[in-house]
Symmetry: C2
Subunit: 338 residues, 2 copies
């Protein structure tokens, strides 16, 4: 009647293979000192019993886990997915797993998440972004674990940084349009400070426009960040209705830029002949659509790969001081901008 059998332990395997639990432990670890015949017997017994190592117990005893905590704002974002993908790949070689959590662009949620993650005693922490609640900062600092902040240049880094200035990247886009002789340039972004990177991009737009002595009033707040295609489409409709003389539109992301483009297509407005459009992030949609969308490539995979490398160096002891690795986003000029 005990339909909830307890799963077999190492002791069960040891008994079945007629060795001590310690020998089983050794046999299950790769490069260890067990005679081949014994190991074979043990593996057979383990397989027979359906034994699976309990990594909870193993971690507790060895005071060492094999995972790296990672937080991203949203699961549903190709850029962050690329970063996490590269990170996973880079860590796999060193036997490290990723423990992934997402904050839903909310610092309170990030704090909750970081506490959850730290309870599992990760070997390192990789966070997206450089703004955190005070308690979140304290938690991470107290953890005595290597920390990497990515996708941003934090004012007060918690540890290592692998990022870039979102503001500066957008400034380079503004500079590009201004160099082409345009002056009436709009920005489409979200309406609140949930997405700090989006906010930085908007700030970069304003700073650059002011630097050129240009009008910054074409600033469309398109809804709760992160805005996507639908919001971009609606914002473009609003812009076309209210500021018909606009020459170029810079969007907070390629997704909203694509939405803006779709509105132009529905209205028969030719891009880039009548208006130029640019995005951010080098999402696939922007490279395929017609016209393809001018954008900025922040090299998400590079961020992940470098984070993995850095973690391995730090855990290996060959790297100790805090680093700032600067990512250089590239401007990709495509068909949507004149």
């Amino acid at each position: 009647m005990d339909n909830v059998r307890k799963p077999p332990t190492m002791t069960d395997v040891a008994r079945a293979a007629k060795v001590s639990p310690m020998t089983v432990s050794r046999a299950l670890k790769p490069g260890s000192l067990v005679s081949e015949s014994t190991r074979a017997r043990i593996l057979a017994a383990a397989d027979e019993l359906g034994y699976v190592l309990d990594s909870t117990a193993s971690s507790l005893r060895s005071q060492k886990t094999d995972f790296v905590a990672v937080t991203i704002p949203s699961l549903n974002n190709a850029n962050f997915a690329d970063t996490v993908g590269a990170l996973t790949e880079g860590l796999k070689a060193h036997g490290l797993q990723i423990l992934l959590g997402y904050t839903n662009y909310d610092m309170r949620e990030e704090e909750r998440l970081i506490e959850q993650l730290l309870r599992r005693k990760p070997r390192a922490v990789v966070m997206t972004g450089g703004k955190h609640t005070p308690r979140c900062r304290r938690l991470v600092e107290h953890a005595h674990v290597p920390v990497i902040e990515t996708w941003d240049l934090p004012d007060q880094p918690l540890g290592h940084v692998i990022g870039f200035s979102n503001a500066q990247a957008v400034q380079s886009m503004v500079d590009h349009f201004v160099a082409k002789g345009m002056t009436r340039i709009a920005f489409i972004g979200g309406d609140a400070d949930r997405d700090t990177r989006g906010l930085d991009r908007r700030r970069g737009f304003v700073a650059a426009m002011q630097g050129h002595g240009l009008d910054t009033s074409r600033l469309i707040a398109a809804g709760r960040p992160p805005i996507s295609m639908r919001e971009g489409a609606d914002a473009m409709a609003h812009l076309l209705d209210t500021r018909q003389d606009t020459e170029a539109v810079i969007c907070v992301s390629d997704l909203s830029a694509f939405g803006a483009l779709s509105t132009c297509q529905r209205r028969g407005i030719s891009v880039p002949d009548q208006i130029s459009i640019a995005g951010f992030g080098n999402y696939e949609v922007g490279s395929i659509c017609v016209p393809s969308i001018t954008t900025i490539d922040p090299a998400p995979k590079d961020i992940g790969a470098r984070a993995a490398q850095l973690i391995c160096r730090v855990l290996g002891g060959t790297h100790t001081e805090s680093t700032l690795e600067h990512i250089e986003p590239r401007l990709l000029l495509r068909e949507s901008s004149a």
Copy 2:
């Protein structure tokens, strides 16, 4: 010189608050029996020391974790992200966390991943898809943990199923085009069996065409699955070059359908006037682009939400037998199909 201070334990907090460790343990759990003054003292001490509960130890002692293992083929897929999002949301209320892994559309990788995940003793396992290696099946079966397979209707379910027939969904799309009087219908998909759901959709296409006595030779293998926009665009170019009389194209996903659409736009071919296009998955891009793309909505969030509900019922003991919950994908007719 000890720059690697050991983090404080419950015993440290107990000493600081002048109570026993047991009382600290109780004070940190919500609804437990500790006087308010003692609890306040303990929480203050914990905060002071930067104490974070060690869930490794806690799980070992209580023989109970708080997470659910989830495998998805790829992180970078809005559909699976939606399922995981809904699952996370539904489980959060019950204090359960998700331990997420991705298989990269590879059954060998899934096996490796499942073993890793099972070592952490999850309370339940949610897998995407119903095809697994024999060892993977054995591992899961031996784990004596509720299992849910999603997004598919497995031949031999491991436990619960929340899914739909990908083949049947595509058949309904074929039926729709045939009812409109079309006969020369093509299918664009991947070229290997990595993506079993993609393969099922292709099978559904062939079966439906044969059922109508139609030619199934317009079957484009567009590269290594899962194919995306670029492959869809190239495949459409190939199709237009070789089978100019094609009336409709069904693509394995909206992403490839959007790529196909972009090729038509570049060549000045009017959709749907000259050719109809349909996708699968109800991705945002298909609803925004011009023309919008006819598709099938497999209700990804619904799958996740139902999985969460099912897990809670099973763990709560109110549900014991294996269930098959059938998702009914909806055909969304949009501008890209005549």
